[in-house]
């Protein structure tokens, strides 16, 4: 699904990722942990295609080099980033925006676009499944949403857009236990042999609810250790310092 080779990324001449290697196969869920400033969010941004980074190395998604593919095209190819800080977009109705997004993705896949009724049925189904109040979708995109609502909205968007490679950038930060369970439920119910996940987190807490296949430790722009679920528990006890 995703193959990253010797990825280096810098912004404003500051080097952040310094030779990162990672392979994610279909159906796998990888967690990336690491101290503040280790490059976790940069990795998420670079994978999503955000401008402003100088990049070298390779990022192959389903065998295709992503380097020259812009953000929106990556999304239409099935890459989804749940933001650490979802942006507030005043005046943009969440439903209308999401319907336009979904239809542009469906169109690029050669699928039939959904009409309003079909779309409303879909969001009803997905929001009920996650236990999210669908009313948040009739509001302006993330405007005045609580931290928890923003994150839940990201997961709901993920469910509706139905991507293949899902990157969660600290989606668990700032969530209470109930919201955390909704996020976990959204991820777990989406897991199948075709979807892959890259879950960026600071805490093992989320990994109690989402069982990763692999856990990687990112430090100073490189993966310095890879293990299974137990590695996260170990880190929770010992911290990152010991690894350096």
């Amino acid at each position: 699904m995703l193959e990253i080779k010797n990825l280096q990324a810098s912004i404003n001449k500051k080097s952040i990722l310094k030779g990162l290697n990672l392979t994610i196969k279909p159906g796998e869920l990888h967690a990336i942990m690491g101290p503040n400033g280790s490059g976790k969010s940069t990795l998420a941004n670079v994978l999503s295609g955000k401008n402003g980074y100088e990049i070298s190395g390779e990022i192959n998604y389903k065998g295709e080099n992503l380097k020259k593919i812009p953000v929106d095209e990556r999304a239409r190819k099935g890459i989804f980033l749940a933001f650490q800080y979802p942006l507030e977009i005043p005046g943009v109705n969440t439903n209308i925006f999401l319907k336009t997004s979904l239809n542009s993705i469906r169109k690029s896949k050669g699928e039939k676009e959904l009409d309003t009724l079909e779309f409303l049925k879909l969001i009803k189904e997905k929001s009920t499944e996650l236990g999210i109040d669908e009313k948040i979708l009739s509001r302006q995109l993330n405007v005045g949403f609580s931290g928890g609502e923003k994150k839940k909205n990201e997961i709901l968007q993920m469910k509706i857009l139905d991507p293949n490679l899902i990157i969660l950038d600290e989606t668990d930060s700032g969530l209470d236990i109930d919201a955390l369970k909704i996020v976990a439920k959204g991820v777990n119910s989406s897991r199948n042999s075709k979807k892959s996940f890259l879950v960026i987190t600071h805490y093992q807490r989320l990994l109690d609810h989402i069982k990763p296949d692999f856990v990687h430790v990112l430090s100073d722009g490189k993966i310095i250790k890879t293990g299974c679920g137990e590695l996260a528990e170990e880190l929770e006890k010992t911290g990152y310092k010991k690894l350096n």
Partner: protein
């Protein structure tokens, strides 16, 4: 360069005027002749050099009365409405089928000369030469059932003309009126439209007005709006004008009695070669009055937007609540926005604030929308619509709101 000549013989040609009116017109004409068109050396025109614009666009100009014959126009079908049809500013037809006709007075232009000599050359030119326009008066206690659309049609045969029009709207005590000024341009050539509009709102009355264009125009538009608000009256003006080579709206609002309220909002989308200015002067002359201004500009290509807004609070106007905000979204490096907010306050117990921002599309917001599969172009459209949305939200009638939204959508899509 003298591109046109006017003298008092043109005033002689105006029919049925009293000696007093004639002398008023001549006085104004003399003033205009002494100054000419306003240029950027005048503070009020520093961002819109009218003389420069006239010199650039016209080799000759004439003030001969424009013809006002037309066969037929297509009325809007989006919502039920009454209408007035102006052809080149001249009152051509009216229809008040939804209303009690006895409560409405409609006439050709306001002949009153109860105006002070202005320092504004364009107002003087208007006072000197205007002989077209309309005068509308709504009787006490009468509330309009349907909106009144003022179709403002400019015909093909007005090349190089200056059309001076004078309008008056009087809403008497407890009456209510909602108007949409809808400009239709058939003229492919350049002309100048210089309008003086006088609005009088009596005690407890309400006037909501909205303006927009059907299509693009090479015309040069200037409109001076003089509003006088009485006790507990309410005036709102929503400006959606677009597609005009040059347009300046000069709005003066006198809040003369307690609890009068005024709202001026605009959502402008300016395209290539377009230049629009909104200039306001809100005079808080009595206590407990409220004014709100929210001017939004989206500027593409080499367009230019200007907002000059002044709030004046007289010493007796305690408990004034005045707010002013202008925001510009610049989509191009060559687009320009000039903003000049001014507050002049002589009362000590008031709430007055102003803010002005201008900036480009927010890249993080753009990235967020694009990560959901929207193209860059669609994402920008969403951000533009979002930026202008709070002005649209002010429209309460759902059909009119939909109509305005589709017009704006069209402009944004054409960009």
């Amino acid at each position: 360069m003298q591109i046109f000549e006017i003298n008092s013989t043109q005033i002689d040609k105006i029919k049925k005027i009293t000696t007093e009116e004639k002398s008023f017109r001549i006085k104004n004409l003399e003033f205009f002749k002494s100054t000419g068109f306003p240029n950027k050396r005048l503070e009020d025109w520093k961002f819109s050099d009218f003389k420069g614009i006239v010199d650039k666009n016209f080799k000759e100009l004439d003030t001969i009365k424009a013809p006002s014959n037309i066969k037929k126009i297509d009325l809007l079908k989006d919502f039920e409405h009454n209408y007035i049809l102006l052809v080149n500013g001249n009152l051509h037809a009216s229809n008040f089928d939804y209303e009690e006709k006895s409560k409405i007075k409609i006439n050709s232009y306001d002949k009153s000369i109860d105006y002070k000599i202005s320092k504004n050359p364009l107002i003087c030119l208007n006072h000197a030469l205007a002989e077209n326009g309309y005068s509308l008066e709504i009787d006490k206690d009468y509330k309009f059932r349907k909106v009144l659309v003022i179709y403002n049609l400019f015909t093909k045969d007005i090349k190089n003309k200056i059309l001076n029009n004078k309008n008056k709207i009087k809403v008497n005590e407890e009456a209510e009126l909602h108007i949409i000024e809808y400009t239709i341009n058939e003229s492919k050539s350049k002309f100048i439209n210089n309008v003086y509009e006088n609005i009088i709102l009596e005690k407890n009355s309400k006037l909501r007005s909205l303006c927009l264009q059907n299509n693009k125009s090479d015309g040069i538009f200037y409109k001076f709006l003089k509003n006088k608000l009485s006790l507990n009256s309410e005036y709102s003006n929503l400006i959606f004008s677009s597609g005009l080579k040059f347009n300046k709206l000069d709005i003066e609002c006198d809040l003369t009695k307690e609890n009068s309220r005024c709202n001026i909002l605009s959502a402008l989308f300016l395209n290539k070669n377009e230049h629009q200015e909104i200039k306001t002067l809100i005079n808080h002359l009595a206590p407990n009055c409220k004014s709100n201004q929210n001017v939004k500009n989206v500027l593409c290509s080499d367009s230019k937007g200007v907002y000059q807004g002044k709030i004046y609070v007289k010493d007796i106007a305690q408990k004034t609540d005045a707010y002013q905000l202008s925001k510009a979204l610049l989509l191009d490096d060559n687009a320009e926005f000039n903003s000049k907010p001014e507050l002049e306050i002589y009362a000590d117990d008031v709430k007055c604030s102003h803010g002005s921002t201008s900036g480009n599309i927010d890249h993080d917001s753009l990235h967020y929308l694009m990560t959901r599969g929207l193209s860059r172009k669609d994402s920008i459209k969403f951000l533009i619509k979002g930026f202008l949305s709070d002005v649209i939200e002010f429209i309460k009638n759902p059909k009119i709101k939909k109509f305005i939204e589709s017009k704006l959508e069209k402009q944004i899509n054409e960009h």
